[in-house]
């Protein structure tokens, strides 16, 4: 199969919404599953981090985060000029695409595991690091010259937001407890991970279908953007990975991180920091188009490119 079987659950969710099924997954189940996934991803990363020297990550981390800032800075003028979107909307959408999607990352990891392509656990650290900075860039773009941003509120909203707390908390617990300490928890957090991801993707399908409807009023530009942006960002990720001498697996993960658009931390942060931006546009593009695109076409594409750019990766 060209794509991961778990994606079939996403399609089932989409389909159920399309035929207007009464299938509804309660909001609290969505909450519980997303807590589980964030924690499990953090734990897994932390356990593997224990096997590396953390300081070796400092330089690549700086490069990875620095280059990633190109994404919102490049998206913004495109959205503003080409897309003729209001400044607030352009900035908010740029922030969503500069930040990252945890579930897309999880599906990419799963895709690599199915193909026995090794990838390093410390990629989770980049996942955690990439969440925030693009949001700051987005707010800065929205407010440039118009003063009055409550930066402290915003920083608190994101840094104390559940995705950072759970990812970083999981990393830390995994790191402190180490593989031995975590072993009794493996049955829940690692063995069930893929099944839970499948279940979560079913929900995501239901949710994404609703966002597609929101997007209908937005016109073709945003749809094209929501497909073009991840492809360009994915390429940027592959180039950066080549520069940093990453393995094929790590390169695919970095490309996926760059290509993915946030739909957990970014919407919440933008709603507070740039309230005049219309969330239907940013969430509609990120979740209605880019998310399914990455799942079904993007990840296989970045993988295919990474394999064929051989020589570039160690």
């Amino acid at each position: 199969m060209p794509f991961e079987p778990v994606i079939l659950f996403f399609l089932l969710g989409l389909l159920a919404a399309l035929v207007r099924s009464d299938l509804k997954i309660p909001g609290v189940v969505y909450e519980a599953l997303s807590i589980f996934l964030l924690l499990a991803i953090g734990l897994k990363g932390g356990v593997e981090l224990a096997r590396h020297d953390v300081l070796d990550l400092a330089l690549p981390a700086l490069v990875v985060v620095g280059v990633a800032m190109v994404i919102p800075l490049a998206c913004f003028p495109i959205l503003l000029r080409l897309g003729r979107l209001p400044r607030a909307d352009a900035a908010s959408i740029a922030a969503h695409y500069g930040s990252v999607s945890v579930v897309t990352f999880a599906v990419a990891s799963s895709f690599l595991a199915t193909r026995d392509v090794p990838a390093d656990g410390y990629m989770t650290v980049f996942l955690a690091l990439l969440e925030l900075p693009a949001l700051l860039v987005g707010v800065f773009l929205a407010r440039r010259g118009q003063g009055q941003v409550q930066w402290s509120t915003l920083l608190h909203e994101v840094l104390a937001g559940k995705s950072i707390v759970l990812l970083a908390g999981g990393l830390l617990i995994g790191w402190i407890a180490g593989p031995e300490g975590i072993k009794p928890l493996d049955r829940l957090f690692f063995d069930l991970f893929k099944g839970m991801l499948a279940f979560f993707l079913l929900e995501m399908g239901l949710v994404a279908a609703g966002r597609l409807a929101d997007l209908r009023r937005a016109g073709p530009f945003l749809v094209a953007f929501a497909v073009g942006a991840p492809v360009c960002a994915g390429l940027l990720g592959l180039l950066t990975a080549g520069m940093l001498d990453f393995s094929v697996g790590n390169a695919v993960l970095l490309a996926t991180l760059y290509a993915s658009a946030s739909y957990i931390a970014a919407p919440a942060a933008m709603r507070i920091a740039v309230p005049e931006a219309n969330p239907a546009l940013s969430i509609g593009a990120a979740l209605g188009i880019t998310f399914p695109f990455n799942l079904m076409a993007g990840i296989p594409l970045y993988y295919w490119l990474a394999v064929h750019m051989n020589g570039a990766f160690s």
Binding site: K24, G27, A268, E276, P279
Partner: protein
């Protein structure tokens, strides 16, 4: 009305769930002595909010208070949140016990 009861205002606010952290602290700051919150979903000018995830959930907040505070709350909500957020506010007359509490 029972002689034990005194007239107060019940201010009900229906808005996006993500507004909670921003809006709730404002209530106390404008004189509310308490509030009650229930999870909700719904539909309005901004489309369906089906509660499937936090970003499409609503909350419903009730504040019992006197007429002065009610007016202050309504003005604050209008000034701070009406332009940018999905929010609906209405005020009803209610008879309460222990009027000193509200």
């Amino acid at each position: 009305m029972s002689p034990a009861l005194t007239s107060r205002k019940l201010v009900t606010i229906i808005c996006e769930a993500e507004l909670e952290a921003l809006l709730v602290p404002e209530l106390a700051r404008h004189g509310a002595r308490g509030y009650t919150l229930t999870e909700a979903r719904g539909q309005g000018a901004r489309g369906v909010r089906d509660g499937a995830w936090r970003a499409s959930s609503n909350i419903r907040i009730e504040v019992l208070c006197d007429a002065t505070v009610a007016e202050r709350l309504v003005d604050m909500l209008q000034a701070r949140f009406y332009a940018d957020y999905g929010i609906v506010v209405f005020v009803v007359d209610a008879a309460v016990l222990r009027p000193g509490k509200f």
